[in-house]
């Protein structure tokens, strides 16, 4: 319990620091971005109005307090270009990113865990000689390039999958949930999710294999053999369960970093997610939107880092249940 509270306090501290850093970044960078962001087409009056409405006419400390205050209320300001609340724009993009990330991670980890466990028993075989370099190659390839390859092949050359977007243009749905579960959405999801999964699977695969090899050398595995337990019981109940601890942690960490790391995949597939919002906001000098998107991506990352820690503690009784000696 104490650990839990401590970890939350730590996450809160990091979040605060990240928010502060973001604030300073967007205001103190050389070249005064506040001016850059207000485009030339604005009249003097509009500019003054805008500055005021964004609180940019006030001294920096005051701006900072206002900024923190509105962040706490979930108010991320209004987009320069879209003239809509930033939060609305982000919340509209969030489900797309979440669907892409979670689908890809689940595929990647399901495959990686099984293949990694299998490879742990294939030491010194030809399979290992092929699989390990292959896994390393997928880790070394730029995600967007993997996406480009799959696109040119499965979408452009063979015409199996759509090449862009999350839904056929102009389609209407009764609810967000109906959209996310529609066949159309899932059809669009396949290619980007596969690309991301291909990029991500190397980590759980190599990690699972490495920890599995380590665990298989542990004395309790030898004991399980001495007990005459079935191979299945030894591998699944004892080896895999212990080996899964770090993999589960990696999953949570991966969830956090993929939310923001999807930027390039979302660009390749024109996937309307958070990363795309960030990129186009930065490119379009839409500073409240860029700031908001950045903070949201960072918040998910910090949150998932925390979840990863707590998950590990929860899964591993050696951490969660203090020693009593």
């Amino acid at each position: 319990m104490k650990r839990f509270a401590g970890r939350i306090a730590h996450a809160a501290f990091v979040l605060w620091a990240v928010a502060t850093l973001t604030f300073l970044l967007f205001r103190l960078m050389p070249g005064d971005p506040t001016l850059n962001f207000l485009s030339d087409s604005f009249s003097e009056e509009m500019r003054a109005d805008l500055l005021e409405s964004f609180g940019l006419d006030k001294p920096l400390p005051e701006q900072y307090l206002i900024y923190l205050g509105s962040l706490l209320q979930g108010d991320l300001g209004v987009s320069f270009l879209q003239k809509r609340p930033v939060l609305d724009i982000l919340l509209a993009a969030l489900p797309n990113t979440a669907a892409l990330t979670i689908t890809a991670l689940v595929i990647a980890y399901a495959f990686g865990i099984i293949a990694g466990a299998f490879l742990a028993f294939a030491r010194g075989t030809v399979t290992e000689g092929i699989a390990i370099p292959a896994a390393l190659i997928t880790r070394a390839a730029p995600e967007f390039w993997l996406g480009m390859l799959l696109l040119s092949w499965l979408s452009f050359a063979w015409g199996i999958f759509p090449s862009a977007g999350a839904n056929v243009a102009g389609s209407e749905f009764t609810s967000e949930w109906a959209r996310l579960t529609s066949a159309d959405f899932l059809w669009h999801l396949i290619l980007p999710a596969l690309t991301l999964a291909l990029y991500l699977q190397g980590l759980p695969l190599l990690l699972m294999r490495a920890t599995m090899l380590e665990v298989l050398n542990d004395e309790f595995i030898v004991m399980a053999r001495m007990k005459g337990l079935s191979r299945w019981a030894i591998v699944m109940r004892h080896a895999a369960r212990n080996a899964l601890l770090p993999v589960a942690t990696a999953f949570a960490l991966g969830l956090g970093s993929s939310f923001g790391g999807n930027v390039v995949i979302e660009t390749v597939f024109s996937w309307p997610g958070l990363g795309r919002v960030l990129v186009s906001a930065v490119q379009g000098a839409d500073y409240p939107l860029a700031q908001g998107a950045f903070i949201m991506i960072a918040a998910v990352l910090v949150l998932m880092n925390m979840v990863a820690d707590l998950l590990y503690a929860w899964l591993d009784p050696r951490v969660s249940v203090g020693a009593r000696r």
């Binding site: 990091v14 979040l15 390839a141 040119s152």
Partner: protein, 298 residues
């Protein structure tokens, strides 16, 4: 948890290695070094190897730009939508890739090792401050942060290298720190302290050489990360628009319908080069698999 302890169990061979034994025991590392060497030679002799000026717009006849030419004896990999020679761009791209990779890795290693040494050896508030800062950096999303920095300053190679170094040093620092913590407990460090060695001397003369192999490993991974980051940022339009880099080539190809036109000789080779160079870093560092996952930290 992983990294450092795994390293301690399996002492690393010196990088120079002891000749044949090294070749036989570390085939992965040898393959990695061979790839590095090939690309370094490519970069040095780029002007001789390239068949054209990579920036030159080529013409067919008097006024027709030589767009989308298929591979031929003059253009090994054809030409781009802008009428430039793909092969020559590819060869010259090696320079910027190595430049970005090596400078970023250098700063990651220097900053990470220095702060890791100080943090681990001095402990106390120095340790707390450094670790807090690294916590905060690990809370920043990597690529988005690089993009925002690029957008708010001048986009270009310097900005990219700086932000990669800024984002990656904590992983190195943490591993070095835990290594130093265990070294500190060894007898000879204590002996050096008792015999009146100054703190800087102990840190830099006695401890630093011990952690150097580990730092080098993290460096070789940082090379890969920096190259991947440069490629991603260039692809998203945040690179140096005047550079000749693999990332920009891919962006160029993507933006000019190379995919729908099926001009795979344009967009496959740059990606392959990136894969090879990043892979080389992984192979060199394969002494410990866990080092491949800097995000897992310790």
């Amino acid at each position: 948890m992983p990294g450092a302890s795994a390293m301690r169990r399996r002492p690393l061979p010196g990088f120079v290695g002891s000749g044949l034994g090294f070749l036989r025991k570390q085939p992965f590392a040898v393959a990695g070094l061979a790839i590095y060497l090939t690309f370094i030679l490519l970069a040095i002799f780029a002007d001789q190897i390239a068949t054209h000026d990579p920036r030159e717009i080529l013409f067919r006849g008097a006024y027709r730009v030589a767009r989308y030419l298929p591979p031929s004896a003059t253009h090994y990999l054809g030409t781009t939508a802008g009428g430039r020679d793909v092969f020559s761009q590819l060869v010259h791209g090696t320079r910027s890739a190595l430049q970005v990779g090596v400078t970023a890795a250098f700063f990651v290693v220097v900053i990470g090792t220095l702060l890791g040494l100080l943090s681990g050896y001095l402990g106390g508030w120095v340790d707390r401050v450094i670790m807090r800062i690294s916590d905060i950096i690990l809370g920043l999303p990597f690529l988005p942060f690089v993009l925002v920095i690029s957008a708010l300053t001048r986009p270009g190679t310097t900005t990219l290298v700086a932000s990669v170094a800024l984002m990656l040093w904590p992983n190195t620092a943490r591993v070095i720190r835990s290594q130093v913590l265990s070294l500190r407990e060894r007898g000879w460090v204590e002996a050096a302290r008792v015999t009146g060695c100054s703190t800087p001397r102990i840190i830099f003369v006695h401890i630093a050489p011990q952690v150097a192999p580990l730092a080098a490993l993290y460096g070789s991974i940082a090379v890969g990360w920096a190259i991947l980051t440069e490629a991603s940022a260039s692809f998203l339009g945040f690179g140096d628009p005047n550079a000749i880099s693999w990332g920009l080539m891919l962006q160029d190809a993507f933006a000019n319908q190379a995919l729908s036109r099926g001009v795979w000789t344009w967009f496959v080779p740059p990606g392959l080069c990136i894969v090879l160079l990043v892979l080389a870093g992984f192979l060199v560092s394969r002494g410990s698999e866990k080092l491949l996952f800097p995000k897992l930290g310790d």
